[in-house]
Structures are given as C-alpha cells and as structure tokens.
C-alpha cells in the first residue's frame, strides 16, 4: 500500500531475522515469542494509522500571478502594493502611470502627498486627489488592505464628473447674469423716469421707454428660450412620433424668422416629399433659429441659402448657409454650449440670447439626428442638420 507511507515488508523481514538469530543464540522461546509479538504488533499499529492528511501546497489566496491575470484587462487602473512596492499593475495603470512603475516604490508612482498619506495608513480607505497624473485631473483613490503587507489600489477618474458639476454651477451663474443684465437697465431707466418727473425732455423719455421695451423683450425671449430648452431636455429620450413634411415647414418657418424686411435675402433650394418623424413645433424652432442666426451674422445684405435634400443614408439634410465672415475654428466646438459667444459685445447688441444653437442641438439630438457646423473664414458658415427619414428603411 503506497498510501501507508514507508513500505512495511522490510520491518517484518527485520523482525523475522532478529527472532531467528535470537532462536539460534538460544534465547528462551517465551522471550522470543513475547518480543516478536510486541515488535509485529507495533508495526501493525503503525501501518494501521490513517495516513496524515495530504497537505496541499500552501495556497495563498492572493497569489500575485493569479491576481494579475484577473485584473490585467480591467479598464480601471488597479495596482497591487506589496511591502510598499508595486508588484502588479494592470494595463490601464501602466498606461496611466508609465511602464516603469512595476517593481518600484509606490511613492515613485504616486508622489502626491495625499496619495502617500493614504498608502501609509494602517487600514485602507479612499481619498480624492487633484493633479495625480496631470494638473487639474481628479482621481478617487481606493485602497483595500488584503493582508499585512499586501494592498490593492484602485484609481477612478472623476475629472469628468467634476467638470459636469462645474458646468452646472456655471450654467446657473451664466443664466442669472444674463437675466440680470436687462433687468438692471430696465430698473435704471424706470428709476430715472420716476425721479426726474418733469425735467426729462419728451424725446429722451421716448428713447428711454424704447430701451426699456427692448430690454424687456430681450428678457422675454431669454426666458422663453430657457423654457424651451428645459422642455426639450425633459423629453430628450422619447422620440417624436408625428409625421412631418419638411418642405412646407421649412418655407414657413424661414419666412417667419426673416420677417418682412429680410425675406428678400433668402434663397430656397428645397427638395419635395421628404417626411420625417418629428415634433412640428420643435422643427420649426430649429429652422427659425438657424435662419435667424444666418441672417444676423451673415453680413447686412448677405444672401442666406436654405436647402433641403436627401442624403445617401436616407436622411433629410437641412442646411443653412450664409456669406458672413465665418467663425474661427477654435470656437466651433463650443458653439452649442449655452451662453457661449464668440464675440460677447456683438451678439448681445444683436439681441441674441446665447441659447439658439444649444436649443438647435438638443432638438436635433431628440430627433436622432446630427448637427454639423462648417465654416470658412471670409466665406461664410454652413450649419446642417441631418434627420433620419420616416421611409428610410422601407424604400
């Protein structure tokens, strides 16, 4: 029996040999029998004893090679710190902190004092670190102690969240600023009119009143823009169900936006029979905003071309082109941000709210479309919206 450990037959052999030798030497038979009994008995007991339980090779639950396989492809940077040294860093961590960190002191990888304080702590925890790798990035560092010297460090990038939180506060700050500016001039003029009861000449009074009216109008359009923006955002996730024929809609909306004076500047190039699933009022607003922008910023007499066509991908392409001075490339990515202005003085003078393109973008997104802005300085700007056609798949 292999499992009983050492082979037993040599013991019996040895026992037998000894007894025979004792017999030859003339030892008393009883003594031989007794010692033989004790000997064989003890061997027998020994072999009967259950084998000691097989001790499995010490399986460390945190074997580092197993661990590294486990975490290697995680998208979050994860590191294993052993005796203050980084023993394993997964791919994301190596990408973030550099290939050299494996095997180095943990302080070489994280030299930020906050991080070191966390790493020096007896028990794990978490901390938020600004500027861990690059300036102004925000990381949350989680550390879990596994055993005496071994701990896992996980890094979570929170830069985007912090940015969003900042964008929210920025929005509130901007909105209140934009609301307060017209209010301030309204209050100022009204106070002047109230105090100096007779001294103000009739002409000046008239001028004051028209400024008040203009500012009040601006306030009104700002409030209605803000409201439509929040309404569009609220129903962002439900796709509109109405069937809308684009050609007549674009024609009327463009004329509305232009008003009697500016209508002659419009040229149309509209394909008929394009129907999309949409929200009639929002699509009108989209066209109005685009046309109004083009007329406002496209130079005093520049023509504005509104076109509608069908793309190869079964989308309706609405594009509005002006012949203005164009927009510098660095502004283009930010144009759809709320209250973003390329030139604060000019757009405020022209009565813009700073929300027009933000509204357009949200409307296009709600219609599952795409908004593109292309601009060539000195030649003009083309804003185009693509919206999937209702019969796209069927035809």
């Amino acid at each position: 029996m292999d499992q009983t450990g050492p082979h037993t037959w040599p013991s019996y052999l040895l026992c037998a040999a000894t007894l025979i030798v004792m017999g030859i030497a003339g030892v008393d038979a009883w003594v031989i029998a007794a010692s033989g009994l004790v000997w064989i008995g003890s061997i027998w007991i020994l072999t009967l004893r259950p084998p000691p339980p097989q001790v499995a090779p010490q399986q460390d639950p945190f074997r580092t090679d197993k661990m590294s396989e486990l975490i290697e492809f995680s998208g979050t940077p994860i590191l294993l710190v052993d005796h203050g040294r980084i023993s394993v860093a997964n791919r994301a961590a190596r990408k973030l902190l550099g290939k050299h960190i494996v095997g180095q002191d943990m302080r070489v990888a994280f030299r930020h004092p906050e991080a070191i304080r966390l790493l020096d702590k007896q028990n794990g925890g978490f901390t938020q670190i600004v500027g861990l790798v690059r300036r102004r990035d925000v990381w949350r560092m989680n550390r879990k102690v596994l055993s005496d010297n071994l701990s896992v460090v996980e890094l979570l990038n929170q830069t985007a969240e912090v940015d969003i939180a900042r964008a929210h506060t920025d929005f509130v700050a901007n909105a209140s600023h934009e609301l307060r500016t017209p209010l301030a001039s309204i209050i100022g003029y009204v106070e002047t009119l109230q105090e100096s009861d007779t001294k103000v000449a009739e002409a000046t009074k008239h001028k004051f009143l028209s400024t008040i009216l203009a500012e009040a109008n601006r306030l009104q359009s700002l409030v209605s823009d803000l409201m439509s923006l929040s309404r569009i955002e609220a129903e962002k996730h439900e796709q509109p169900r109405e069937r809308v024929d684009l050609k007549p809609l674009i024609e009327t909306a463009s004329r509305d936006a232009a008003g009697l004076e500016r209508v002659p500047r419009l040229t149309f190039n509209l394909a008929a029979g394009l129907t999309v699933l949409g929200d009639q009022r929002q699509l009108e607003q989209l066209v109005r905003n685009l046309v109004d922008n083009a007329l406002k910023y496209g130079g005093p007499d520049g023509a504005v071309n509104v076109s509608l066509s069908r793309t190869d991908n079964d989308e309706a392409l609405i594009s509005v082109a002006d012949q203005g001075e164009g927009i510098p490339a660095e502004h283009i990515p930010h144009l759809t941000r709320r209250f973003y202005r390329t030139d604060p003085g000019r757009s405020r003078a022209s009565g813009g709210t700073g929300l027009g393109l933000a509204i357009v973008k949200h409307i296009v997104e709600r219609h599952r479309g795409r908004l593109d802005i292309a601009s060539q300085q000195g030649q003009g700007t083309v804003v185009s919206a693509r919206i999937p056609l209702v019969d796209g798949k069927a035809s």
Binding site: G103, D105, R111, R135
Partner: protein
C-alpha cells in the same frame, strides 16, 4: 534596472527613489499652493506651505542618511553609483525648490491690493510653466527617461523669457504707480524665486539624464 544579487541593495535603492519621489510630490504641491495663495491672498494656505517645508527638510535628511549608508555598506558601482549620487544631489535641489515655494508663501501677506495688480496674472502663468517643469522632471526621474529630461531643459527658456517680461512689466508698473512700489518689489522677488525654481528643475533634469545615460546633456545654448 537589473536585479541585484544582494536583494537588500535593491530594496535600499527602491526606498531611496521612493523618498525622493515623496519629497518631489511635497514640493510640487507647495509650488501650486504657494502660487494659489499668492493669487488669492490666502494666508492660511500660505502658512500650510511654510509648515510643509519642515517635512521636506526632514525627508532630505533621511535621503542623505540612506544614501551614505548605501555607499558605505554596499559600495555601489557603475549605474548604481550614479543612481545614488544623483539621488543625493537631486534631494538637495528638490529641497531648494521647496524653500523657494516657502519664500513665495512668506511674501503673500506683503502684497496689498492684489485685485488691481495686473502683473500678478503674469506671475501665475509663469508659475504654471515652472511647476509643470517640476512635475515633468519628477516624472522623468521616476521613469528614468532622458528624453523627457531634455524636454524639461528646453522649457527653461520659456521661464527665463517670462522672467524678463515680468521684470520689465513690473518696473514700468512701479513707475506708473509709485504707491505700490513696496508690493511690486515683492513681486520681483517672487518672479526671481519662480525663475530659480525653473533653473533647479533644469538641474534635476540634467542629473536624471546623467543617472540614466552616464553623461550630462550637451549644453545647447553655449
């Protein structure tokens, strides 16, 4: 770096590098906070920077002790020796960078009427470049990356150019607003401190280059 037969030696070197990185992290934060405190006039933050310098000094002493111990006990050769010598020198320089940050922090309370002080914005921009240099050079040290070290050396020109323009700017500001001369003079000292931080970052970069390759980068502007 290859592993050494004597494992304890590896551990010593790793610890040495760790200590330097920790010092670097502290002084990096000090520069940031000193400049922040300067711009916003936050004296509490400045006091924190001044206090932190003690810790940097203590770490430098620890680095010195460890480096001497390594040389005495292990008699390192070739790149190991370069590594230890560079660590010793870098620790001294990083400590100086911490000192400059402390100096900036000390002057925070001496500047009055900072809202109207235009040269302050220039200083902030200059400080940004200098602290970027310190950040990059520490990363280069951690990665033993001579290429990044060379880039840091090249950036020093920018800081020097900033220094010159700030000097002119502040001097003309003094001429126009004699009432602010005492504050403006403080700004000159601060600009000088930031310029020194840039120079020291360059020094560290040279040592990183030395430790990695065995020779100092060729002097390009001479």
């Amino acid at each position: 770096m290859n592993e050494h037969t004597v494992k304890a030696f590896d551990e010593d070197i790793t610890r040495l590098r760790g200590l330097i990185a920790e010092m670097g992290g502290l002084s990096e934060l000090s520069i940031h906070e000193a400049l922040d405190a300067l711009i916003r006039g936050d004296e509490e933050l400045a006091a924190g920077v001044i206090k932190r310098d003690k810790k940097i000094d203590a770490l430098e002493a620890e680095v010195d002790k460890l480096a001497i111990r390594i040389i005495a006990l292990r008699a390192p050769m070739a790149d190991d020796l370069r590594e230890v010598i560079a660590a010793l020198k870098i620790a001294g320089v990083v400590e100086r960078i911490g000192d400059y940050s402390k100096n900036i922090a000390k002057r925070v309370s001496d500047i009055e009427d900072r809202k109207k002080f235009e040269p302050l914005t220039l200083l902030a921009a200059m400080g940004e470049v200098a602290s970027e240099m310190v950040h990059d050079v520490l990363t280069a040290y951690a990665a033993r990356d001579p290429v990044l070290a060379k880039e840091v050396i090249a950036t020093d020109e920018k800081v020097d150019a900033f220094y010159n323009s700030i000097f002119r700017n502040v001097v003309s500001y003094m001429v126009e607003n004699p009432a602010t001369i005492s504050s403006a003079a403080q700004l000159l000292f601060i600009a000088r401190n930031i310029e020194r931080i840039g120079d020291h970052a360059t020094n560290v970069a040279e040592m990183v280059h030395f430790a990695a390759t065995g020779f100092y980068p060729p002097d390009e502007d001479s």
